[in-house]
Structure formats: C-alpha cells, structure tokens
C-alpha cells in the first residue's frame, strides 16, 4: 500500500476505487473479509440473541493462546486456532450447563491469556528465524496479509460454517426464545447449544486471521446488536446482521486503503461501532411505539 495510490483515489472516487481493486492483496482481503464477515454477522446475531456475547470474548482469548501454542510447537497457527477454539466451545457448553460463576470464568480466561503471554515469550526467545510480527498478527489480525491459499481456506470454512448455522438456525431460534417449550417439543437444546458454541469457536478462529483475536468480539457483537436494534423480527435481523458486518469490512478496508496510517483493524472496528451507534440512535427515536413489542422478546432471550 503506497501513498501514491492513496492520493490517486482522491483525484476521483471511481478511478480510486478501480485502482484499489486492481491490487491483488485488496481483492484477497475483500473476498476473505466478506466471507468471514457474513459468518460473523450470522453467528453474532444468535450470540446477541442468546446473551452469550461473553463467550465471544472468551473465545478470542483462547484463540490467542491456541495460535501461540501452535507457533511454539512449530505448527501452522491455524491448527492451534481451530483446535483450541472448538474444544473451548464444547467446554463452554458444559460449563454453561453447570452454571459457573462469572468470577470463575473471568479468572480462568485471564489465566489462559497469561499462558498465551508465556508461549509468546517462549516463541520469541527460542529460535531466531521466527516471524517477529506473528504476535501482532494474531492479536490484531492482518487482513492485507491474506494470500491465495488463506483466501480459499477462509471462503471454504465460512461456507461450511454458514451451512451448519443455517441448518440449525430454526431449532436454535426456538431453543433461544423459549428453551423450556423447545425442550418439551423435542428439540435437542443441549446438543444445539454446544454445537452453536463450537460454531462460534470456529468463527472466531477464522476471523482471528482477518481482524485479530482481541477485536473479533467487536465484529461479532456490533453488527448483530445494530441489527437487533433495527428490527425485532428474527430472520430479517439475522440477514441484516450479515449485511452490516460485510459493510463494515468493505468500508473499513476502503478507508484503510485511502489512509495508509490507519491500520485496517482499527478502521473496520470503528466502522462497525459507528454502525452500532447509528442503529442505536435510530431505535432510540422510534422506541416509544416499538418498546412494547421488543421488551418481552429480549427478556426471554
């Protein structure tokens, strides 16, 4: 990304945009980013609806430690990412069922992150030919570092996760809104809940490469919360969340391209936060007639 290209975009928005799409790293970033954003939006909507945003935070911590552990072991960080987050998703499902204290969970994930710091130090002090920016890439992502192969993997994983999520979407929504009735109607709520947390884990692992383990929480929460504020109907909200997440990635990448000083992670995250703020403002204006409808639905979730 050079400043010359950034200035070219100022000469005319359309030429600038065409220039931008001419770079392979931008198209890779946009393709992989779109795939990840769609899944993040879809998964995030259920996460917000089920009140499990904290699980996204926890998974981010685990993703960091998993990636660092894989680097120490000499493996591809992606192996560690997926293994750690999917195992953690299943474990979280079990913990949720037993009803653990927030203090316990918080202390535990703090310790997990401490373990990640240990692996980081081990990785940077042992062996000289290591990739020095690996730590920053895992923490804050590297959307412009996506190559051909990573793009293909991202799209494939996103497609797989999307299919799984859409298959379980209807029973999951039922189990989310009224768990007792769903269980009585024969929906396997426990299995669904655990499966969903595993899907969240895989999503976090995939998104970590794009936006980073620490910021993935924002991409899960912000577009979904914005969608939940804009509509109270579940299916339009579900798809709107994916659209908003994709918009955040596209606008964020474009701004990051035009302003080389700003890292893409920051521009994407601030776009997502802006979307959330706008949605909150819109819903606050139209709240009075809608409140009666919205309140009981949310309380059940």
């Amino acid at each position: 990304m050079t400043i010359v290209d950034g200035r070219a975009s100022a000469s005319g928005p359309l030429t600038g945009f065409a220039n931008m799409l001419g770079h392979p790293f931008i198209t890779h970033a946009l393709v992989a980013g779109t795939a990840v954003a769609v899944v993040c939006g879809l998964v995030g909507y259920f996460l917000v609806l089920r009140g499990q945003v904290f699980a996204g935070d926890a998974q981010g911590h685990i993703a960091y430690t998993g990636a660092m552990a894989a680097l120490v072991a000499g493996l591809d960080p992606r192996v560690g990412l997926f293994a750690a987050t999917i195992v953690a998703g299943v474990a979280l499902g079990v913990i949720n069922r037993r009803g653990a204290d927030d203090v316990v969970i918080g202390s535990f994930f703090s310790w997990i992150l401490g373990l990640g710091a240990l692996f980081l130090t081990y990785y940077t002090t042992h062996g000289s030919g290591n990739n020095g920016t690996a730590n920053v890439n895992v923490l804050f992502g590297s959307i412009f570092g996506i190559n051909d192969q990573a793009r293909a993997v991202a799209v494939a994983v996103a497609a797989g996760l999307g299919v799984v999520l859409i298959v379980i979407a209807r029973p999951l929504l039922f189990a989310t809104i009224d768990p007792a009735v769903a269980q009585a109607a024969g929906v396997p709520t426990r299995l669904l809940s655990t499966l969903f947390l595993a899907v969240v884990g895989a999503t976090v692992a995939e998104a970590t490469q794009i936006i980073g383990a620490l910021v993935v929480l924002g991409l899960l929460a912000a577009p979904a919360a914005a969608a939940a504020r804009l509509t109270t109907r579940p299916w339009p909200g579900f798809w709107l969340s994916a659209v908003l997440a994709t918009a955040a990635i596209w606008i964020g990448v474009t701004i990051a391209y035009a302003v080389p000083a700003a890292p893409a992670t920051f521009t994407i995250m601030s776009t997502a936060a802006t979307i959330y703020l706008i949605a909150a403002a819109i819903s606050a204006r139209g709240r009075q007639p809608r409140l009666a409808l919205a309140a009981p639905q949310r309380r059940k979730a």
Binding site: V48, G51, Q52, V53, F54, G56, D57, D102, V103, V104, I105, G106, S107, F108, F109, S110, W111, L113, G114, L115, A117, L118, L120, T121, Y122, T125, T133, N135, V136, L139, F140, G212, L214, V215, V216, L217, G218, L219, L220, A221, A222, A224, A225, A228, R229, A261, A262, P263, T265, F266, I268, M269, S270, A272, A273, Y276, A280, R298, A301
Partner: protein
C-alpha cells in the same frame, strides 16, 4: 544483567534488591496490590467485575496514546480509566451491565466498546513506529513498567483511593448488600456507586501497570474471590484479599526477575492457583460439615459454611 537463581533464598532476594528498578517495581507492586485487594473485594461483592475489566481495557488506548505523545504511560492509564469510569457512572443505571452475567443487548454494547478500545490502542501503537515490542508490555505487563517518578503518582492515587473508600465504606457496603433498604434509609446510592466506580478506575489503572491491560483480573478479581471462599466477614475478607494480592505480586515479580517469562503470566497463574486452592478448601470444609451434620441429626437442612 543475567541473574542466577541459587538455593539460598536470602542471597536471591539481596541480588534482586541490588537493582534500583527492582526496588521500585516491588514498591509499585505492593502499592497496587494493596489497592487492588481492597477495591477488588468491594467490586466482587458488588458483582461489577466486568466493569473492572472494561475499565482496564480502556486503559490500553490511553497508555498507547500517552506513549505516542511522549508522555509517561502511567498518566495515560489513569486518564483513560478515570474518564471511562466517569462515563459509566454518568450513564443511566439500567443501561449498565452488572457482572459478566449481565447478558443482553447491553453486553453487546460493552463488547463493542472493548473491541473499539483495543483497536484504537492498536492505531496509536502503529502511529508510534517502533513501539511494537512495547505492545506486549502494555497488554501483558512488565516489571520495569513503573519508574520512581511514576511511583509517587501511583502512591498518591492509591492513598486517595483508600481515603475515599474509607469515607464511603459503610454506606457503600450497605448499598452493595441491600440497595433497596439503603436507598430507603436515605443513603445516596447513586453517588456512592459513582464514587466507587471512580475508585475502581484508579485501581484498574494501577493494576494495568503491573499485569498489563488484559490480565487485571489476576490482581483485581482472583484474590478477593479467593477471600470470599475463606470468610464472609468484611474486615477479615479485605485483609485476606490484600494479603493474597501482595503475596501474588511479590512472588510474581520475583519469578519474572529470574525467568525470561513475563510478569503477567506469573501473577495470573499464582492468582488463579490460589483461587482454586481456596475454592477447593471451601468445598472440602462444606463436605465435612455436611457429613457431620448428617451423622448427628439426619433430616435437618444443611447450613452453608
């Protein structure tokens, strides 16, 4: 500088004490641990641990911005944490999430704020070129984080914290345990809660300088949570919490000095270990009590220890 650990603990401590930066690290660690032990105890009682975590995370962009502007990072931590605490305190009460379990639309908002804070911190870090090794210190802590000048700032902030806490202690305790009764009896619960959030901001800023922004749970939550497993009495609980926090910090600083691994790892490991020990101790005591109870008077409801 390559200190060697020997079997003689006294020479080890003397060796550590010979370095001025270690002396100020231990002093800063003690000050921070005392405040964290006291404030953390009230925080866990009030189930505001998520707020503490968020405040600490907001400290990261503050510290990164301070480094970018060429100011000591300590001021950045304090400014950002206290500012965020004031904002949270001014928000209307229902839009605040209480605890990690405060699930709903609001927790999504808090998650967004956290992620945005971390991303903003990353922006400042990348604006300040060559700071990338400092990134790890800001996030995961460093023993050399506090200079002797910063120590004075830390000390004054800690004293202020403790004085405010002592002044509002009784109404705060009442408002935390039974907010409705306290409010009915004329305790200004809103004011007390707001003041406590400011104190919490200072404590989180202090703890961040030792353990890093991401690991404040280790100092702010684990010691008081362990104390709650050991006793329910406030004075005793605060004393135990402070004791654990100070011990964990000292041992953590010592281990970080003699090993290449960061202090955040050591402090969070020891704190979590002590928490597990306390939880295990309580579980075993409860089991014993239940067994005795069952032997002597079958059918009577078990009273929790």
């Amino acid at each position: 500088m390559n200190p060697q650990l020997t079997w003689n603990l006294i020479t080890d401590v003397q060796q550590m004490w010979a370095y001025p930066f270690m002396v100020s690290a231990l002093r800063a660690g003690t000050v921070v641990a005392v405040v964290a032990g006291v404030v953390g105890w009230v925080m866990v009682l009030r189930k505001e641990s998520f707020a503490g975590h968020t405040l600490a995370v907001v400290g990261f962009p503050g510290a990164a911005a301070a480094a970018w502007l060429g100011v000591a990072t300590g001021y950045g931590y304090f400014a950002a944490c206290i500012g965020a605490a004031a904002v949270i305190a001014l928000l209307p009460a229902p839009s605040r999430a209480g605890g990690l379990g405060g699930f709903s639309d609001e927790s999504a908002g808090i998650g967004t704020i956290q992620a945005l804070a971390l991303a903003t911190g990353f922006l400042f870090v990348s604006l300040y070129h060559g700071f990338l090794s400092g990134l790890t210190s800001l996030l995961f802590g460093t023993i050399a984080g506090v200079s002797s000048q910063q120590l004075h700032v830390l000390l004054i902030a800690a004293l202020l914290c403790l004085i405010v806490l002592a002044a509002i202690g009784r109404p705060l305790l009442w408002a935390s345990i039974d907010p409705d009764a306290a409010a009915a009896n004329g305790v200004p619960t809103r004011l007390v809660a707001g003041l406590f959030l400011l104190v919490l901001g200072v404590a989180a800023a202090g703890a961040s300088q030792i353990t890093g922004s991401l690991l404040v749970f280790a100092l702010l939550v684990a010691p008081p949570a362990a104390a709650f497993h050991l006793t329910a009495r406030p004075a005793m609980g605060i004393a135990i919490s402070v004791l654990i926090a100070v011990a964990v910090t000292w041992v953590g600083i010592g281990c970080a000095f003699y090993s290449p691994y960061p202090i955040g790892f050591w402090v969070s490991s020891f704190a979590f270990g002590i928490y597990l020990l306390a939880a295990g101790y309580r579980a075993s005591v409860e089991r014993t009590l239940r067994r005795i109870d069952r032997r002597h008077s079958p059918g009577r409801p078990v009273v929790a220890a």
